[in-house]
């Protein structure tokens, strides 16, 4: 038994860390550190820097630009990005649409879409959730009817992250409302967001930010060649995507960076003339989060080691990482907000903004924003259902 990385793994980590430190642009580093809004250009600039280095799509097959890294290297890379505080890599193209195309797409589809995803030419979004179907995805209603050489799509998606930035969307649609099992009438389609009949309406979240949208389809014509896999087999595709290897679900690297920042920040804040970090009640909460994070990191490495040895996909273990990882992210954001006490109240300047501390004012909105983590990507209650069914057999 050995808890430590091998010397080769440590050398790889140092290589990644060194490159990230030298190549992450200062303005992007600062924006991430100060919880500022990232524009489409910010996200794509970082994407293209990694693409140029050849590190944008580590898990893809080598012929399409993959790095041939093993599991542990991929994990190290992702955690180092989180630890360095890079802009996030938007997963919809790179780690959702691309793996689906690689597994189910035609050669023509691969050639058409994969290089553009790799190079950051197309920005993708995901059309899964609908107003009436959140955790119960198979109840979706958006309808696609075949007419000649295209489908005509009508319906609505919701919670569509960054649809306002997107060039393309991949959607689950219902192609057969009469199917015996509701999972059987679903298909997986790719739409160009410029197609007439698509309307994107912002859903502003309680932190004031614009991340998610409603997307309306009104007689949208999608060419038949944009169907992935077979008609009516969209559920198979969707399930493959859900089970696709994700080992950085715990977001250990990013939480470590937040913890370090919280300690520094809580040292600068004062209570009764002493650093806040020396306050026993605050300190206990901080220590408990740090201990949770330590435990989660070792648990994550254990699962990784197990996957490496058995070749088994992570399965229900990933649900555990998601539950604990998001609880830790939320706890850290809450402590950052609590660290400034009453000064967490200023939200947005109403006149000019001279002397307005925008970093401190970002802490409460960030706390608000992080509530999403236990809801999205399969709510933590759904994750418990998965463990209950798959691991415990209940």
């Amino acid at each position: 038994m050995d808890l430590n990385y091998s010397s080769e793994e440590l050398a790889f980590r140092d290589e990644v860390r060194g490159w990230l430190n030298a190549n992450l642009p200062d303005d992007l580093r600062r924006k991430v550190a100060e919880y500022e809004h990232l524009t489409r250009d910010d996200l794509l600039r970082w994407h293209r820097l990694l693409a140029k280095k050849g590190w944008i799509a580590p898990s893809w097959p080598k012929e399409w630009g993959g790095t041939d890294w093993n599991l542990v290297q991929r994990y190290i890379f992702e955690e180092e990005c989180g630890y360095a505080g890079t802009p996030p890599l938007i997963p919809f193209g790179l780690s959702m649409c691309a793996p689906v195309l690689l597994k189910f797409g035609t050669e023509a589809q691969k050639k058409r879409f994969l290089p553009r995803i790799y190079n950051g030419d197309d920005f993708w979004c995901q059309g899964y959730s609908e107003p009436g179907s959140g955790s119960d995805l198979a109840s979706l209603k958006t309808k696609a009817v075949r007419q000649g050489d295209h489908y005509v799509v009508n319906g609505q998606k919701i919670w569509t992250t960054l649809a306002h930035y997107a060039d393309w969307i991949f959607c689950l649609v219902r192609t057969d409302s009469g199917a015996a099992k509701r999972q059987e009438g679903i298909s997986f389609l790719l739409f160009d967001m410029k197609t007439p009949g698509i309307t994107v309406r912002p859903l502003i979240l309680m932190d004031g930010g614009h991340e998610v949208n409603e997307v309306f389809f009104d007689d949208v014509k999608v060419p038949l060649e944009n169907l992935v896999f077979e008609e009516g087999k969209g559920w198979t595709v969707a399930k493959y995507l859900l089970g696709h290897e994700r080992m950085n679900t715990g977001r250990i690297g990013a939480s470590k960076r937040e913890l370090t920042k919280l300690k520094e920040f809580a040292t600068e804040q004062t209570k009764g003339g002493r650093p806040l970090i020396e306050d026993v009640r605050f300190r206990d909460k901080l220590s408990r989060v740090e201990i949770e994070l330590t435990a989660l990191e070792i648990t994550n490495l254990r699962f990784l080691d197990q996957m490496r040895r058995t070749g088994q996909a992570p399965g229900a273990d990933v649900s555990m990482l998601k539950i604990k990882g998001t609880e830790i992210q939320q706890a850290l954001s809450e402590l950052m907000m609590q660290a400034v006490g009453p000064l967490a109240q200023p939200f947005r300047p109403s006149d000019g903004g001279d002397g307005f501390d925008s970093f401190v004012a970002a802490l409460a909105p960030r706390y608000c924003n992080m509530r999403k983590t236990t809801i999205y990507a399969g709510s933590n209650e759904i994750q418990r259902n998965i463990i209950s069914k798959m691991t415990l057999g209940l």
Partner: protein, 380 residues
Amino acid sequence: MNFDYSEEQQLLADSIRRFIAKDYDFEARKKIVASKEGYSAEVWATFAEIGLLGIPFAAELGGFGGGAVDLMSAMEAIGEGLVVEPFLPTVGLGAQFVARGGSEAQKKAILPAVIEGKLEMAFAHTEDGARYDLAHVAAAAKKAGKVWVIDGEKRVVLGAPLADKLVVSARTSGKPADAKGISLFLVDRAAAGVSLRPYLTLDETRAADVVLKGVEVGADALIGKEGEALALIEEVVDFATALTCAESIGVMKQANDATLEYLKTRKQFGVPIGTFQVLQHRMVDMVIAAEQARSMAFLACAKVDAETNPAERKRLVSAAKVKIADACRHVSQEAIQLHGGMGMTEELKVSHAFRRLTVIAQQFGDAEHHLERFAALDRS
């Protein structure tokens, strides 16, 4: 990075599990607990025979030269069986002082006998008012010519009624809470002036309060340097804490397995109660707590074996114990709740697991104590 047990570690745990399945089931354990001594000499002889008692001692004395990591899988198995024999007091505490701080003569006189199962030990340290402060020692040892004379009272000395030799901490200088001035002595349990008030602990092991009145020991009874014992005490107690963390994983597994089985078989309203989502999610949280605890047991065992900086070792053992104390309470309380009324009875093993987990949560420091030590040792 490798979280697998080695072949030797796995074989040892397997032989303990086989032994428990065959000769140490719940009924057999009940008889041992109810016996006068609360201990089985045959069980102890078996532990010696399979090599368990020699794992963390030097090969030249008949041991295996291993550490806490080598004992982890065995501790898990001991936890699953809720074993009551004094493995921790003898191998995890008493003999560790000799192995780590004793003279060559002390090692030769004691360790081979421990390894062969012929000598049992206990660590007489905790005193009234000390709580978990390891430096709080008021018992005194005074030099009188060529001998030391020890006076004091020790509380909750695990395994004392079964021990042949006690390791007794006593102050040779300074005041009760001083870091300096604590010394360790080997004392025969049967020595003149040693008296015991023996009892059964909540988790059904044997312990005693020990009174020492004018107990005389020779100069050769001193372990290590006079007045310098605190660092050794901290090291050995961290080692025992790591072993207890590993043991707790087995106890939690036992409690979780029993609870899951109960959810699948117990029917109410015509269906197994495990079909109720409110119970499913609580069961899932118990399993997650046990997994996180397992990760921390790995950390504690690895650090007590390999960490050379005592402050860092203490910080991480404390991190582990916080998580494990929390998990012990969470899992044990939920296991009883999900079993309903039956979980309250002595008749089910799960209530005995509850008692062991309740003790482990507080043994060598509860979550609050270790949270305090963790925070105080933070490097930043």
